[in-house]
């Protein structure tokens, strides 16, 4: 009995240190979420101005651009799945990967070949484990994406899209996790390329008419420079959302891990107390039994 009491005590101790760790991770994730949200807010003006410029261009020039033209017969599609670098974030990575699979399935039904791009170590590992080809992957920034990361990814995706050869794709989709609130994050997929005309998305509130811009050097050249940046900014936005979602998911997962550890400690403490009590009871009954036996033996000899 005494042995198992010691065992229980050891288990309580290890659960306690586990609880400390998960609690620390919860707090770290919580403090980082605020930072991630601030970063998303700081990136908003750029995205807003860019969107305005693109919709002005789309409204006032009939310039056609390779990035906005729908291929006549799309047969190849690329999917970028944004996952996390680290685990311990509950179902975060698996649910975004699942959404990616769903999208791939749907595109395959439409008769398209799929090329996969991955951001984040978890997604990379998922595809490597299943021996599935990945065209390109980027890792190491999932909880703090920089604009340069988005630029790199955007460049690769645009290159693949404008490539006319075998390596080229006809459309590009992005799967990421949208940050709704601290409690709700949902995996979400959007078609990034070819770009849909963005009119009406974030219109100025009082329905002001977009000014009649002059374009310098020409509308085509402005569009040429503007659209890749627009794509990159959209990717940056997706990365920021994904990082906020990852942190929120991690905080939630670590909170429940801490709660579970607390429950376990309670349970183990009860069992340990029971074991101790049982040990004491047994000792007493042994002593009493011994005394009785002694008394009986003495009574018999007299």
């Amino acid at each position: 009995m005494a042995v198992s009491l010691r065992e229980y005590r050891a288990r309580i101790k290890s659960t306690e240190s586990m609880k400390k760790i998960t609690r620390a991770m919860e707090l770290i994730a919580a403090s980082r979420i605020i930072k991630a949200q601030q970063r998303a807010q700081q990136a908003a003006p750029y995205a807003r101005e860019l969107t305005r410029a693109v919709s002005a261009l789309a409204t006032y020039s009939d310039a056609d651009h390779p990035l906005t033209t729908e291929p006549e017969n799309p047969t190849k599609a690329a999917i970028l799945v944004i996952t996390s670098d680290r685990g311990l974030a509950g179902a975060y990575s698996s649910s975004v990967l699942k959404e990616g699979e769903r999208l791939a399935e749907r595109l395959r039904e439409e008769g398209k070949q799929i090329t996969t791009f991955i951001a984040g170590r978890k997604g990379e590992a998922y595809f490597r484990f299943r021996n599935r080809p990945v065209r390109e992957s980027w890792t190491g920034f999932s909880d703090q994406p920089q604009y340069d990361n988005a630029r790199e990814i955007g460049k690769a995706l645009i290159d693949a899209f404008v490539d006319e050869g075998d390596e080229g794709v006809d459309e590009v989709h992005i799967v990421y996790t949208r940050f709704r609130s601290m409690l709700v994050q949902e995996p979400h997929s959007v078609r990034m390329l070819p770009l849909e005309v963005v009119e009406g998305e974030e219109k100025p509130p009082e329905d002001e008419v977009l000014p009649l811009y002059e374009f310098e050097p020409s509308a085509d050249e402005v569009l040429d420079a503007l659209l890749p940046k627009y794509v990159q900014s959209r990717i940056f936005y997706a990365l920021l959302q994904a990082s906020a979602s990852e942190l929120a998911a991690r905080q939630k997962a670590m909170k429940s891990a801490t709660d579970n550890a607390e429950e376990l400690i309670k349970k183990f403490t009860r069992i340990a107390n029971q074991a101790r009590q049982a040990g004491i009871t047994q000792e007493i009954s042994e002593i009493v039994g011994g005394v009785n036996a002694l008394a009986d033996a003495q009574a018999g000899s007299e």
Partner: protein, 110 residues
């Protein structure tokens, strides 16, 4: 008479500066452009280089940008770029250190 305009210098990850200004000078692909209040709406591609802004209170700042856009409308000027470094934020020692580092790197590479 409103002879000032709102100017915002926006980098990809933050708003670097915004406020009232009287003159904005920038370099576009087509050449230098100078903008004062009530300029006609224009949208242009900025070349790598510096932006020069005179603010309302006779202040003045310059910023280095890595190319981007300028759009002017409704007496508002937006300068968009991916990275920007503004004069009163940048630090001489830090810039010098970065320059030395870059030099050392390029020497090591060659």
């Amino acid at each position: 008479m409103a002879n000032t305009m709102r100017v915002a210098l926006v980098a990809a990850d933050r708003e670097v500066w915004s406020g009232e200004a009287t003159v904005v000078n920038a370099r576009t692909l087509a050449g230098e452009i100078g903008i004062m209040a009530n300029h006609t709406p224009i949208m242009s591609v900025l070349a790598e280089g510096q932006v020069d802004v005179r603010t309302v209170d006779d202040g003045h700042w310059v910023a280095a940008i890595d190319g981007g856009f300028i759009s002017v409308a409704h007496n508002e000027v937006s300068l968009l770029c991916e990275h920007a470094e503004i004069s009163h934020e940048s630090n001489y020692d830090e810039a010098k250190r970065l320059l030395e580092e870059a030099k050392a790197r390029s020497e090591a590479a060659s």
